[in-house]
Symmetry: C2
Subunit: 322 residues, 2 copies
């Protein structure tokens, strides 16, 4: 892998994809390609990647994806595209499972048929660990913990990882399995907790909302700044050990209550907090912190403080609400 290797990012127009592209361009990668499903997203992507490096296609279309890989002959692929909402997965379990299954199968078949030299960064999720028995939760969770997913989205991410595993074992593909914990930062959809809090705080600052509505604040979570995470994906492309699984997290636990307090402290006005029952999930993991020693061994570690990230999220929400 060199700075002029062809790299392909799927779902490149998404939250994590955009930050990965920024990072790759910052460190002088010259041949980064991205896919987008909708023409509007493709136009946006073209501004950073250039028209020739943006590919508008349906990633469930096998011939289209196989052709793209046959043409590009990428050295590395970061396959971010997936249906990613936990709440939606409770309502539309079958659709979420089938789509994520197909997105994975199509990419794996395309690599097998047309680009066996490509290294695939396969995106699982820490959500696959789910509601682990207490003895696993008591300490940072390492990659050998079993899967106890608590919602259909988490199952679909486990399925994607396991399909990658089956193809790697059956066809000797070069695959790195990543299980990201919560990735946060500017530009994330308000469907997620922290951007929603930031959006609400800005609306309260502007007198458009009364109280900050929150869910379960007792949960302990592991947050990584998305710009740090972007660096981890590049490290994994270059230095990850083929076939291995890597947790991607900060390694530090923080309660949702602390996160909310830090955000509220950054607000321009006094903020009143209220629990909104509709924000509580049927089941929640009490303690969820990553053991990141495997990723550390590749030379990566988080650099951005939580305060910095939360400040940037708030600033991003202020710009979005202008």
């Amino acid at each position: 892998m060199t700075k002029d290797s062809v790299l392909l990012i799927t779902g490149a127009d998404g939250f994590v994809g955009q930050h990965i592209i920024n990072h790759l361009q910052n460190i002088q990668y010259t041949n980064v390609h991205g896919t987008a499903f909708r023409p509007e997203s493709a136009s946006r992507l073209a501004k950073t990647l250039g028209n020739n490096n943006v590919h508008t296609l349906d990633l469930t279309n096998q011939p289209a994806v196989t052709n793209l890989l046959a043409t590009l002959q990428p050295r590395g692929i970061i396959h971010l595209a997936a249906r990613a909402s936990v709440n939606e997965s409770y309502q539309q379990a079958e659709a979420v499972l089938n789509t994520n299954t197909k997105l994975q199968l199509v990419m794996l078949e395309a690599i097998k048929e047309a680009a066996k030299q490509a290294r695939l960064i396969s995106l699982g999720s820490a959500q696959a660990y789910g509601v682990l028995p207490a003895k696993y939760q008591a300490q940072p969770i390492n990659e050998e913990a079993p899967f106890y997913p608590s919602n259909p989205y988490a199952v679909s991410k486990a399925t994607q990882e396991l399909l990658s595993r089956a193809y790697q074992l059956s066809y000797q593909l070069d695959i790195i399995h990543v299980r990201p914990f919560n990735q946060i930062g500017p530009g994330q959809s308000t469907d997620f907790a922290l951007p929603s809090f930031a959006d609400q705080i800005v609306k309260i600052e502007k007198g458009q909302q009364d109280k900050l509505l929150v869910g379960n604040l007792e949960a302990v979570r592991d947050f990584t700044d998305v710009r740090d995470a972007a660096k981890a994906y590049e490290v994994l492309l270059r230095q990850g050990v083929s076939g291995e699984v890597y947790n991607l997290g900060s390694g530090a636990g923080v309660t949702m209550k602390e996160v909310v307090q830090k955000m509220v402290a950054l607000a321009k006005v006094k903020i009143e907090i209220e629990t909104d029952p509709s924000r509580l999930r049927p089941v929640d993991v009490p303690h969820f912190v990553a053991d990141i020693s495997k990723l550390n061994q590749l030379g990566w570690q988080p650099e951005t403080s939580l305060e910095q990230t939360l400040g940037d999220i708030l600033e991003s929400a202020r710009q979005a609400n202008q």
Copy 2:
């Protein structure tokens, strides 16, 4: 759970289903129901269960399954139905994954909506363990081992188990997760290795075939007589701990070579053996033996000797070839 509790077996016309029904009837269960997809299978089932206890339906049809559970109000459900061929799953990965996903989701939704009192015996598979790193293979595999499935069928069984886990955690359903290792005995399809060997041996005995064609004989496997396995399912219905995972195996490893030698020794003529490359899989697990201490603790253990089982399989093949 008492002997007159309503029990429902899906895929009741299959290899394992028939043996479970035999066992439940032997020990005087009086209210056993079964489902079948095809009318011919339903007719066969009716001979043992009676017309009123056989239900012909498509288990991917949500309203049909929900209605059946609402009407029967079963106390226990053994959900055996699944697409079960490893070879087929390499050719039709998406179809196998989607069907097995749907079969599981429909049953879980039906229980959630119409029969929350039912205990579900949810069928995973030891194949989900797959090609574990060497340190796990060196000893009998216990239920805390991670998943390294090597084919799409194995992934689909992992997905089924994980969906059951997600529903159990989200909706407090009463679910026992089972991971069967190889189950063998009279009546199994010749798509599987041992029945195929038996069928070939009988054809050689009758002068209809020259040599016994085999696959990889170095692999170490764990075989359970299906009649012993049938007893385990009943034990799990009565005594399994809700939410727990149980390996179902013999706990004893045997090489495929030993199995073939034992079968050949039971043949009526001298048998010549030949490796058939088409019987080799893209990847095979070298050593695959169950740690069955959890199931042992419920009072179950295998009773039938491997010689007895292999003899019965050969006898069954002789009858089928008459």
